[in-house]
């Protein structure tokens, strides 16, 4: 339904009407507008300050998280792994055909033995003593083990360096290329080397690896903290100067 006649009349008259507001109404509105503008500015600055804080936190989190992911993981295994690899290579060299051994008959076994001793650290004295005089006492056993393929396998699988040495020496004896005196000198040499290593190890035993690592970590953390504090300081001073300039 459209407008009624009286409604049209009402509408025309009311839409033409003007009521003058009281004097000073504009001043009141102007004052309100001024206060509104003033209240706008602090919000803007607070947003800026909040943004710098958030940025600081982000930088902090990035810097703080980075070193943790980069911290080296202590692995105790490598020594053994290296050792195993060494022994495996040793075994491969033993398994090589005789024709190659004949080409370098004396030097090849000696070299390998030396290598083992240079890499190897934790060898017990008692065991070394037993290695010291191996020929007469365990010759028959060694011979058997050399002949027996199952025993050979066992030694290969176990990957024990001492056994590898014994094996190497017996192998050399079998071929008759290395004399007992040579073996003795080699073993004596190895023994002195091991003793030297042991003494060095005893010196190094006083220093705990974990404590060292912890020290390093603390140092790193300190440097990160310093960086973060620097960043926060810069942000704070920027915000401060901005607020001061605004006033």
């Amino acid at each position: 339904m459209g407008q009624l006649k009286f409604e049209k009349d009402f509408s025309e008259k009311l839409n033409k009407r003007k009521i003058e507001p009281k004097a000073g109404s504009w001043e009141e509105l102007s004052a309100r507008l001024n206060s509104e503008e003033k209240s706008k500015k602090p919000i803007f600055w607070w947003i800026g300050i909040a943004a710098t804080l958030v940025g600081g936190i982000l930088i902090f989190s990035i810097l703080f998280n980075k070193p943790i992911s980069e911290t080296p993981v202590i692995v105790n295994a490598p020594e053994e792994e290296i050792f195993k690899e060494q022994i495996e290579s040793q075994q491969i060299s033993f398994e090589k055909p005789a024709s190659k051994e004949e080409a370098k008959p004396e030097k090849a076994p000696v070299k390998t033995v030396k290598n083992i001793f240079s890499k190897k650290e934790p060898v017990a004295n008692s065991k070394l003593a037993s290695i010291g005089k191996p020929q007469e006492s365990s010759k028959t056993e060694n011979d058997q083990s050399y002949k027996d393929p199952d025993l050979m396998k066992e030694t290969k699988i176990s990957g024990n360096p001492e056994e590898a040495i014994v094996e190497a020496t017996t192998n050399a004896n079998k071929t008759g290329e290395i004399t007992d005196a040579e073996v003795d000198t080699l073993l004596a040499e190895a023994l002195t080397k091991i003793k030297g290593d042991k003494s060095a190890k005893s010196v190094s035993e006083n220093i705990d690896a974990n404590s060292l690592l912890l020290e390093v970590e603390l140092e790193m953390e300190q440097s990160i903290r310093e960086k973060v504090f620097d960043v926060l300081k810069v942000g704070y001073f920027k915000a401060k100067t901005a607020v001061v300039n605004r006033n």
Binding site: L4, K5, L29, R32
Partner: protein, 189 residues
Amino acid sequence: MKVIPLNKNETQLIARAIKNNRGAQQCLYDLHSGKMLGVCRMYIKDLHHAEEVMLNGFLKVFKYLVDFKNEGSFEGWIRKIMIRECISFLRSKKALEFKEEGLEDFNGSFNNIESDINVDEIQQLIDSLPEGYKVVFVMYAIEGYKHLEISKMLNINIGTSKSQLFKARKMLQEKLRTQNISGYGTVEI
């Protein structure tokens, strides 16, 4: 020819007012405050409150002047803001209460009564209506809003809007008839 420079002047004023030029803002206020107080007075009986609402409306006008696109009339844009401000004022005073009506037929015919009363008498007649009737009547009959728009603005059903208008019209007609009989066009309230 005179309208174009006036409009040009207004757009320039608006552009300056957007940049918080107090002079331009005052010019716009002086141009429209009289009419806008009249609009607010239609909805709010108390002139002091109406003026307060108008000032709040102008505050919003200058705050959101950036959003005004010169597509419609500036006066129409301000008017909308004023009406919304009036509605929210009445809501805050809990004066706006609508009874949800059923699906009745409110399209009944009305006697086309003519009135020859002045603006103040019209205002008195409108003021005599209950708030719900008054708001819907003013929005529909004076401002020219559709029932759908009214229902959206007041957050009511279209049926409620129609019923409020129907009852307001009936009431006003009755009052006009009694006035015409008693005073030959003069109002006696």
